[in-house]
């Protein structure tokens, strides 16, 4: 319990900053939505005339930007990126922090098992990403309802946030695994950061050139589509299962690796 409390307290400032950034992005984005709604162009009719591949390349697919749900679905990519960075860094730092701050000598000589240290840290991580998720959720519903005659699209946004949470969980696990396996915090955060950039660039390359579609499987950013979540209210079930199983494996790896870890003093 003490480890948990300490971990929460250590991250409270960064969590607040992250949440503020997220709220600002949603606010700034939705503020300008009105301009689109007023342009009154029937996007779906326009799109129907063109080959679908062309639109897919520019990442719009069949999304109607003049509808609030379609407009909001574009944000999902941004949420994924920010949430992924937040979660992966949290995981990597939380697990390896004690050695960096030279507190390991004190913490790990206490009469508790390593398992009892790493567990509360990871639970604190889950709580942190959950708060981040809930703030995104609240801000989204609030700003959408401002521009949609009071209707916040509650159910669509909740499906989207569920997808986001699964992704966050995956990235938290990935970060924690790197934190446990790699030598120090610096290395763990660098590798985690490289992973995010790599995943992101692969997802861009897949959009660009359709023959690379087989690469979709390796980048989590391609597991969920903003438009299917927001418009069809559908959560891709196989994607969710794969991500959850991989997260579970990564968490288990974290525990094993951490138990065997040679702690630097």
């Amino acid at each position: 319990m003490n480890v948990f409390k300490k971990e929460m307290k250590a991250n409270v400032t960064s969590l607040i900053i992250w949440c503020c950034a997220q709220v600002f992005i949603i606010y700034a984005g939705m503020m300008k939505y009105q301009g689109f709604a007023d342009s009154n162009v029937d996007m779906s009719k326009l799109m129907a005339g063109f080959p679908k591949e062309i639109m897919l390349i520019f990442g719009v697919g069949s999304v109607d930007l003049t509808k609030v749900a379609g407009f909001y679905s574009v944000f999902f990519l941004y949420f994924m990126l920010l949430a992924a960075i937040h979660a992966v860094m949290f995981g990597a730092v939380a697990v390896s922090r004690e050695e960096r701050d030279h507190c390991a000598d004190f913490l790990y000589t206490k009469p508790i098992r390593r398992f009892q240290i790493i567990m509360p840290k990871l639970i604190a991580g889950v709580i942190n990403i959950l708060i981040f998720n809930m703030v995104t959720f609240g801000a989204s519903v609030f700003f959408i309802s401002l521009h949609n005659n009071g209707d916040g699209l509650f159910s669509q946004v909740s499906v989207t946030m569920l997808a986001l949470f699964i992704l966050q969980l995956f990235f938290l696990a990935l970060g924690a695994m790197f934190g446990a396996v790699l030598k120090n915090t610096k290395l763990a955060t660098s590798v985690s950061g490289a992973c995010i950039l790599g995943f992101f660039l692969v997802s861009v390359a897949v959009d660009l050139y359709d023959k690379l579609a087989f690469l979709e499987i390796i980048t989590p950013f391609k597991y969920f589509e903003g438009s299917t979540l927001m418009i069809d209210e559908q959560l891709s079930f196989p994607s969710a299962v794969i991500l959850l199983i991989v997260s579970l494996i990564l968490f288990t790896l974290t525990f094993f690796a951490f138990n065997k870890r040679d702690l630097k003093t």
Binding site: W18, I25, P51, R100, K186
Partner: protein, 265 residues
């Protein structure tokens, strides 16, 4: 001089990794060009028939897709993103590492002024940024020359490629300022990656929204590549703003750091 040499020696390994990965990203994306260049010309016809709002939303206003440079600016956006992370990393790390690694107690008691230490460190960052840029420039020049079937506009190529230098210097100075401003920085990458990606997302958002005020926030918008290929020059207002901000950040770094209370062991 010793400080400069030592900094460069310490940063050598990560500099090499960064240069190679930036060149690698560029190479991967540019090698896709031959296979999609034929499609690109079809796209242009399609986009021309869109209403202007949607051309703006997709970022395809006045897009000239028949030259290799119009494709080149697309992967280069991601080079700017990655390069910004690199530069900000260096900026945040270069001064704060002394405190973090507890070497400040040795360095800051030497008979050199703090200002001299800071200027040497800034110089080291600048040298590394210049090396990165030279490397990326050479790689890009080779790739574009090999892949281009028609002669291309060399002036525009130089403009696009040099925007990396401006972006990197901006983020490095922002990083320096943050590191002088915060009392103690424990891990560099969460800060630098968070800040860079938030700016990047604001820029992406503004690609769709084209809001003047929002454009002033994100430095990625100062060197908007699609804008660049239209006007064939950097926007003088943004260039001025860039200059003022960089100057301000560097000035504040000296100011704040000279009076900073450095925590010791």
């Amino acid at each position: 001089m010793n400080i400069l040499k030592q900094e460069l020696r310490m940063g050598r390994k990560s500099l090499i990794i960064w240069c190679l990965s930036l060149a690698g990203i560029l190479m991967l994306f540019m090698l896709l060009y031959p296979s999609i260049s034929s499609q690109l010309e079809d796209f242009q016809k399609v986009f021309k028939s869109f209403p202007i709002e949607f051309q703006q939303a997709l970022g395809v206003v006045n897009l000239q897709l028949d030259s290799i440079l119009s494709y080149y600016q697309f992967p280069f956006t991601y080079i700017l993103l990655a390069g910004a992370v690199q530069a900000m990393n260096m900026g945040v790390a270069v001064i704060s590492s002394e405190v973090r690694e507890k070497t400040g107690d040795f360095l800051f008691v030497k008979p050199v002024t703090r200002n001299r230490i800071v200027s040497m460190k800034i110089l080291a960052v600048l040298v590394q940024i210049l090396i990165t840029n030279a490397f990326v420039f050479a790689t890009a020049l080779i790739l574009v020359t090999i892949l281009s079937t028609k002669p291309y506009n060399v002036g525009l190529f130089v403009l696009i490629t040099c925007s990396l230098l401006f972006i990197q210097i901006f983020f490095a100075s922002l990083g320096l300022f943050i590191s002088a401003f915060l009392r103690r920085i424990r891990t560099v990458l969460p800060i630098s990656m968070g800040v860079v990606f938030i700016f990047y997302i604001i820029f992406l958002l503004n690609e769709t929204l084209k809001d003047e005020k929002l454009g002033l926030i994100s430095p990625f918008g100062y060197f908007d590549l699609s804008e660049l290929s239209k006007t064939m020059n950097y926007d003088s207002l943004y260039l001025l703003l860039w200059f003022v901000l960089v100057g301000l950040f560097v000035f504040l770094t000296f100011r704040l750091f000279a009076r900073k209370d450095l925590p010791s062991i």
